[in-house]
Symmetry: C2
DNA sequence: TTGAAAGCGTTACCAT
DNA sequence: ATGGTAACGCTTTCAA
């Protein structure tokens, strides 16, 4: 392993002082054209690259954000990540991506490591705020898709009540009365999305009694719909926890000989691009996923700068009904 | 913007020297239990986090890799990225992700910035090696999916000739004789995949004369298949440049009333998970995308360490036929 | 077990 | 236009 080329080496071969090298490299004025060229030649010749550490130490201006997501292969998180990357790039910031593989253990390890590598964290965490706080050592943190309890944290919330209401209205207007739901079975309690669904149904005097659980995958969705339909053959529509599950439901419906949307309408949640790939394209209660990522970055920036935080109502991403072909 | 809490502040409040703080934080032995506790308390109280720059400057051990991809929303790149992240994590390295949005301009900007932020780059580049070299200042770089000409670079190659041959064999065995292809129209020349296809066809004494071009999107694939079928209604099978285009072809086939696989067989390339989401699931000449990412990281590591590079034949990822339902 | 001093590679500031 | 000196915040000797 060859020794690092430093600014001193460049200075020596160019026959100038290191300050001059610095000037040449950073386009500070006050430098003779020929001197500059000589320095640049030496730089190229030696293959010199400034140490980001030394540079970061003296000019406190490089910002790096840690983006923590459970699974980069899940298109939902990918879309959010894309939004975050874009927003960060616009500010000239860097994003280190950490994939926790949906494991609490990996999440712990990530938190441990992230503290010493970035200026702020943003992302999806499953740990309790107390534990996060203990390991984050005061680092600015923005939780996505989850309410924060301690003022120490900040969060981007997803508001879907109105969107789900829209979806149910839409289904009812199409004549559906028996509408089921495929919830996410990962957590112990029913999801908030299920509550939104129940409220919307009740508003129409309809019962939200046909609810199944699905694991977070296409196969999970397919399986869950098959079960649900076996128990409730009279359903003419289903609302699902998210688009991944909905895509599975679409497949199961086809296997069961139920034409979508005629024999069974399907509504997802998230509004992923994935929904446009399937046939029929998926109607969904859509989130601006890009905005979710962008907001998280924006908020992290304010935290970092000590600026006033965005007002609570701006930290909210509203889901709206996106009608495509499955209803 | 409050001033940074430094190790000196901690030392002062804990009533020790900063070396002792360093010891307490880095679990170096030779420190009294109570002293350590006192330091840790001070750290928590002040919310102290060591500067990664200062630390990186003295211990030269944090490695950060830049991952450059054209589009994080394209599942192919996402899968490669996931593989790279996983491999990097296994080594305790960090990955900064740069999305160049498929634009040469953004790519230039990225290169410019990446030099001063990471220890090595890995990814998909469209710039010429000469230009890359000029801006990379000797930084180790691994090109993915593209052959390198200059020994200064390293590359992970995709070998699909055998896989495509398998695919055509498979189709022929199923009785297909008129097989078309949907190539990628982004570049000026026909793709190498098209050459693989032509070779495989010729080996069976078949003509590879029905070839259309598609832009890299689902819609693009749909449109292109429609056109191709209009020109060559006798085709009973199509091979596509990649899975994205194939998924579009699947949709177009359905719209045209061509049942897949009975009236039209479809074979993609890449073997993305996306292919399992559509119905029928896509047969594809599959790549181990995870391995592509992992190899790139591995190779970058060797370059960084000055170790002997992987032999050329290991820098190769072979595509193999993955038969699902669309054939 | 603890502390003092040196140095990591760079830029900012002040001379010249 | 160029160079000298002092930071930046931390860890690593080496002494005590």
């Amino acid at each position: 392993m060859s020794k690092r080329v430093t600014i001193n080496d460049v200075a020596r071969t160019a026959g100038v002082s290191r300050q001059t090298v610095s000037r040449a490299l950073n386009d500070k004025g006050e430098i003779d054209g020929s001197t500059k060229q000589r320095v640049l030649d030496a730089v190229r010749e030696l293959g010199y690259r400034p140490s980001r550490f030394a540079r970061g130490l003296v000019r406190q201006d490089t910002t790096t954000i840690g983006l923590v997501i459970p699974d980069l292969l899940n298109p939902f998180f990918t879309e959010v990540a894309a939004g975050a990357l874009e927003a960060a790039r616009a500010r000239g910031w860097h994003v280190i991506v950490y994939d926790t593989a949906g494991s609490v253990e990996e999440e712990r390890g990530t938190i441990e490591v992230v503290v010493s590598q970035v200026d702020a964290v943003v992302g999806y965490f499953s740990l309790a705020e107390s534990e996060l706080d203990a390991h984050l050592s005061g680092m600015p943190a923005v939780l996505i898709g989850r309410e924060h309890r301690t003022p120490r944290f900040s969060s981007i919330r997803i508001e879907g009540a109105a969107g789900v209401r829209e979806a149910v209205d839409h289904l009812v207007a199409k004549g559906h009365r028996r509408i089921g739901m495929l919830d996410y079975e990962g957590r112990a309690e029913p999801s908030i999305r299920r509550a939104w669904f129940a409220d919307a149904m009740n508003a129409h005097g309809l019962a939200a009694d046909a609810v199944g659980n699905a694991v977070q995958s296409v196969d999970g969705g397919a399986e869950a719909l098959t079960d649900l339909l076996a128990k409730h053959p009279d359903l003419t529509a289903v609302f699902t926890f998210n688009d991944i599950i909905a895509v599975g439901a679409l497949r199961a419906a086809r296997r069961l000989g139920r034409a979508v949307p005629d024999d069974l309408a399907v509504v997802g949640f998230d509004g992923l691009q994935l929904g446009t790939v399937v046939d029929p394209a998926l109607t969904s209660v859509a989130l601006d996923t890009r905005r979710v990522g962008a907001l998280a970055i924006e908020q992290a920036g304010r935290l970092l700068a000590g600026e006033p935080q965005l007002p609570s109502e701006e930290l909210l991403v509203n889901a709206v009904l996106l009608v495509r072909e499955s209803t």
